[in-house]
């Protein structure tokens, strides 16, 4: 074999070798997608109960969860075991939030009881524009084998997850919420989990006697409001976010109709609420809010209260709220919203 031929053979060998090796991560991605899909299916379709620790902001709290899927209907009850007695019960299209420390119950009827089942993220090309998915090593969580799966955001407009998915029942036995730098913001760790079996109706009744509490109910039901027909538009959206639905509804404790827009990048969800200005003496709100890792930003646009809420970084809700503007005559609304580029490099 000539020197030239042997060099060519060597080059071919290198190329084949590198191509074969490059293909491996692609296979791993497919497997990661399967694990993610299996986890979401387990979360949406299995009946389970368990206790978990919730760790955020330097605090640890212990909670119990009951989750039942029966005849296609989802019931869920979340109880704080760490002292304040708060509970959330989601039952057949209604969400009740018991706040004994405030002597209050917030009640929200869901427009569609199956809505949560319908919003399962699918790891497709849309999602991959905003997130990377990596299947990690096998790990033991309380002695049970689990696979580690990372969902990594491609920019600072969204959070990501590290998931420990139980190999047998496909439930996320540990969930870390992380920012774009991989810094953990919150952790949920199941210390006990029973998947399968049945749960009686009694498991979905509150421990607290709430008869003397103030009940703040949502009045009326939500109605679909096609985004294109709304008198509002979004002039800027973070990359990857799209308007997925819009409804007219009323919020608990309020008699005013609210336009509720739902934005999604395939995984993270942001709600935008647009309300008429509050009647005196209440004043319009301008500012920020935070419930755990969910951030909110509220401002006044054309005399309306605009509030963006979502489990995304504070910059994202601010960016989205600031993009709400009255639709100009002749212009279509949210359906034509353009995804604007994010902040420029510095």
């Amino acid at each position: 074999m000539s020197e030239r031929a042997s060099r060519a053979a060597l080059l071919r060998g290198w190329l084949l070798c590198s191509l074969a090796l490059v293909a491996l991560p692609a296979l791993a991605d497919d497997e990661a997608r399967q694990w993610l899909a299996a986890m979401h299916e387990a979360l949406a379709t299995r009946t389970y109960q368990g206790e978990f620790l919730h760790l955020a902001n330097g605090r640890v709290e212990k909670l119990r969860i009951f989750h039942r899927v029966k005849d296609g209907r989802v019931s869920e009850r979340l109880v704080n075991l760490s002292g304040n007695g708060r509970e959330v019960i989601r039952n057949d299209g209604e969400l009740q939030c018991y706040l004994p420390d405030e002597h209050k119950v917030l009640v929200k009827s869901q427009a569609d009881s199956g809505a949560l089942l319908g919003t399962l993220p699918a790891f497709d090309a849309t999602l991959e524009a905003s997130y990377g998915l990596e299947l990690g090593e096998r790990a033991l969580v309380f002695g049970r084998p689990a696979r580690v799966l990372a969902i990594r955001p491609h920019d600072g407009y969204r959070f990501g997850y590290r998931l420990w998915i139980d190999e047998e029942n496909k439930m996320p036995v540990r969930t870390d919420l992380c920012d774009a730098d991989g810094v953990m913001l919150e952790q949920v760790l199941f210390t006990s989990l029973k998947v399968g079996g049945t749960l009686a109706d009694a498991a979905f009744r509150p421990d607290v006697d709430a008869t003397a509490f103030a009940w703040e109910r949502q009045a009326g039901s939500a109605q679909n409001a096609p985004a294109d027909e709304l008198p509002w538009r979004l002039v800027q959206l973070p990359p990857g976010f799209r308007v997925s639905s819009s409804v007219e509804q009323r919020l608990p404790g309020s008699s005013r109709p609210v336009t509720h827009l739902v934005l999604s990048d395939g995984l993270a969800t942001v709600s935008v609420f647009i309300e008429e200005p509050p009647a005196p003496p209440r004043q319009a709100t301008e500012g920020q809010g935070r419930v755990g890792s969910a951030f909110a930003y509220s401002m006044v646009v054309a005399g309306h209260q605009v509030t963006a809420v979502g489990e995304v970084p504070p910059q994202t809700v601010e960016f989205i709220a600031e993009g709400v503007a009255p639709a100009k005559p002749g212009r279509l609304g949210f359906g034509r919203a353009a995804a604007m580029p994010g902040p420029q490099p510095q």
């Binding site: 330097g58 524009a129 299947l135 920019d155 540990r174 774009a180 760790l189 419930v291």
Partner: protein, 224 residues
């Protein structure tokens, strides 16, 4: 892992909290032996002030800092930069990690080897000037002690170093939150969050609900 007390009697208080810290750290990693897990969980359920006390010890901060991004070897950074800078590989790389990231070694030696091979090929093709990922952008962020997200973000912004291929900036810093703003009243915020939770995907939705029932919305528990 052992939790044997150490030090003399004068260190007794510190030593006990150290043991507790180690136990909770192991618990949160899912690595605490079952019998100790049972005991610690019973204690957590019995002593409602335990979480607050642990918070005072900054235990969680310690636990979480242990989860931070591990610095990568310089060679790995250069490999990532080279892969990200090569337009032909950029599309594929978009679906793959570019940074030291969240996971420890992912797909094992084979993947590492493939990256190394690609790196050799790519480095030989010598990416043009101005298209490389700034190494500074890929360098591990210094760990900051407080876990409060707002503080973290306000302190240094949210740095992102993910590009979309050639021609686009691969590094930017999103603006920090402006401190001049007011605060949304808690009752109003709760209504928004309840309404939002009904449209969230299961994982994020559960997380939102957890925060509704968690104590944290009421601010820090005073140290006892």
């Amino acid at each position: 892992m052992t939790y044997a007390p150490r030090g003399d009697r004068s260190d007794r208080v510190t030593t006990m909290s150290d043991i507790l810290n180690e136990q909770l750290s192991a618990l949160l990693d899912g690595e605490l032996p079952p019998e100790e897990t049972t005991l610690l969980l019973k204690r957590l359920g019995r002593e409602q002030a335990l979480a607050a006390r642990l918070s005072r010890y900054r235990l969680c901060g310690d636990v979480l800092r242990g989860e931070r991004v591990q610095p990568r070897a310089d060679f790995a950074l250069r490999v990532s930069a080279a892969v990200a800078a090569e337009p032909a590989l950029a599309a594929r790389a978009a679906a793959r990690p570019r940074r030291g990231g969240w996971l420890r070694p992912l797909a094992g030696l084979a993947v590492a080897a493939s990256v190394a091979v690609v790196a050799v090929l790519v480095l030989q093709t010598s990416p043009g000037p101005g298209r490389g990922v700034p190494l500074a952008a890929l360098a591990p962020q210094p760990a900051s002690a407080p876990l409060a997200l707002a503080q973290t973000i306000a302190a240094r912004g949210t740095t992102a170093a993910y590009g979309r291929g050639s021609g686009e900036p691969v590094s930017y810093v999103t603006p920090t939150v402006r401190p001049r703003l007011g605060v949304i009243p808690e009752a109003t915020l709760a209504s928004y969050v309840v309404a939002h939770s009904t449209v969230s995907a299961p994982l994020a939705g559960r997380s939102v609900l957890i925060h509704l029932v968690a104590d944290e919305t009421r601010g820090d528990v005073p140290a006892r």
